[in-house]
Symmetry: C2
Subunit: 374 residues, 2 copies
Amino acid sequence: MPSDHILSYEAGTVLTVDLEALVANWRSLQAVCGEAECGAVVKADAYGLGLGPVVTALAAAGCKTFFVGHVFEGRDVRTLAPEATIYVLNGLRPRTGHIFADHALRPVLCSVPDMEDFGQFCATSGRRWPDGSKLKAGLHLDIGLNRLGLGPYDLERADHLAPLFDVTLVLGELARTEDICRAERQIEVFDRMRERFPGCPASIANSAALFRDETPLYDLVRAGYALYGGNPVPGRANPMRPVVKLEAQIIALRILEPGARVGDSPGWRAGGPRRIAMIAAGLGDGIPAAFTDNPRAAGGIAIVQGKPCPYVGTIGMDHSVLDVTDATYLERGEWVELIGKRLQIDDFAARAGRSGPEVLVHLGRRCYRRYQKI
Amino acid sequence: MPSDHILSYEAGTVLTVDLEALVANWRSLQAVCGEAECGAVVKADAYGLGLGPVVTALAAAGCKTFFVGHVFEGRDVRTLAPEATIYVLNGLRPRTGHIFADHALRPVLCSVPDMEDFGQFCATSGRRWPDGSKLKAGLHLDIGLNRLGLGPYDLERADHLAPLFDVTLVLGELARTEDICRAERQIEVFDRMRERFPGCPASIANSAALFRDETPLYDLVRAGYALYGGNPVPGRANPMRPVVKLEAQIIALRILEPGARVGDSPGWRAGGPRRIAMIAAGLGDGIPAAFTDNPRAAGGIAIVQGKPCPYVGTIGMDHSVLDVTDATYLERGEWVELIGKRLQIDDFAARAGRSGPEVLVHLGRRCYRRYQKI
């Protein structure tokens, strides 16, 4: 269901995306990058925040390189940023070579069959880059994650294929680890493998690596979750500006008698007279079920009139319940803050025991989305 | 990002929705309903499966009543099913009365302010139902869940408002509980409260209640998750036909040496030489992060060439990794089954320690969606 036909006052939830903060985040990451270029990862509809506005804002600010997961996402970025360099991280699906050529997209080839497939397409289709040169691609080098990427032996095997296209980027992926020795080993492997591509730009760092002194940045940094306000340095103060605000409308309010339960929930009982608010946001809006009755996490809260108010009872598909006893006068139709400056996405996710990117990507589906300062 | 512009062969995931199975499920639930009518709950884009095809198929099969969460969802159902009765379960947002009148939607009023708001709109706007009669609404009666709904005292207070519109349904919500006494108390309360509305149709049962002998069905049943293949009787054999198949494309394959890890994951190591497949489905496609490194759940599996193959390593935004050692010959570009007849939605969700509806509603966002037999 496209959210662009929802009116603000009939929505259950409003997702506000602060493009100024997003651009400020990109600029501050670019400043940390120094000589290296800061590219933007905009996969999965820009982590659910809307590919169109996000790419348009970043391109206008000077971001030149975008990373997506799939070729159809690349097509969308191309229409938004005609001049941009666009890499497709999942590589090449069989029989999609022409789409890369049509839209000047660069697959990040991540296996020998990927290279064979793209090489064959380049050799037999006669397709060229818009300026008449060879088609372009990145190469994903496996530096120890054992996931996507070419190993040293693969590069050997595929040596005859590389001249069929221009390799414009060699890319590696660092483990998310505090183990400096492991990171150093990864970088050694990367440097050894890229000797085969003298002068070719390289990329290894995501926004987390950008804040680790010991990681070299090479030519291009891939900034993703941090652009959207996620904390790239978990456990330390978040250097990024929050980008997202999620608000929900109050459907109804009521007073509970001591001992009353809410919904089916076996876990929670009103410890005294409590006031609760039903809000028009639930599972279908990305509110995690794990916000309540979850002994392994802190439990969800929302900010109501500046006060943190816990979720109680089970989370429904269309609504949830907050204990708003600590807030003062509230009315049906009022909006409460589920995510924002005081309760940022990482905290929101952690309270459900989930990862920030996973929660973020599920937020934007059934909301009224607007782009303004938060 | 609208999924309707993704081509099948460039997609990472393909979601197949079996409308014949959906309709068969509705018919089998209608058969269990006997004299009562079986309505369909199609909130949240029909649990993520596509409101358009789902409503069109159910309406063609004879389903006359639809339930949605929000008024904007009601508007969409109206364009798909011009003759249908449509109830909006979250009630009335302030200033949305005219939308209900424009599209002949019925709010399920769930508080005194809701009744006041709708009553005032009816009294002052001069708007009428298409046949010239009064506008119509349902009333949500609170029968002990302490969530949405009018209590006995509320009905007293709002008595003067009810004549301003036609009350065409009184609705209650049963706890999901095995406690028969609690259910009986709920039904007693419901019967007492609805005495105020003699002759008015009533609804209390969802698909789970439909399979409990002791629950009276009244006039209208609200079938939701079970329509889409979810098991209405957890712990017993699922009486519903599976409706959903989710497949993902293999991006790359590789052999791991004994002891190798995948991605950042600290938890899993190859116990011997293992073959793994990277598939183009990740967090952004609704694959739960909790499929791996989750000591509290069984862990995710996919069906590859008829064999269950576990997820290993962390789930990425765009891809995941399967241990496919037990499958035989596999190629890049091949499709593997993540959800289907052998691995139904409830099992898929349970393997992540999550609820089926929550997982289901997050699946359909970045896939190529098609409607055919699974």
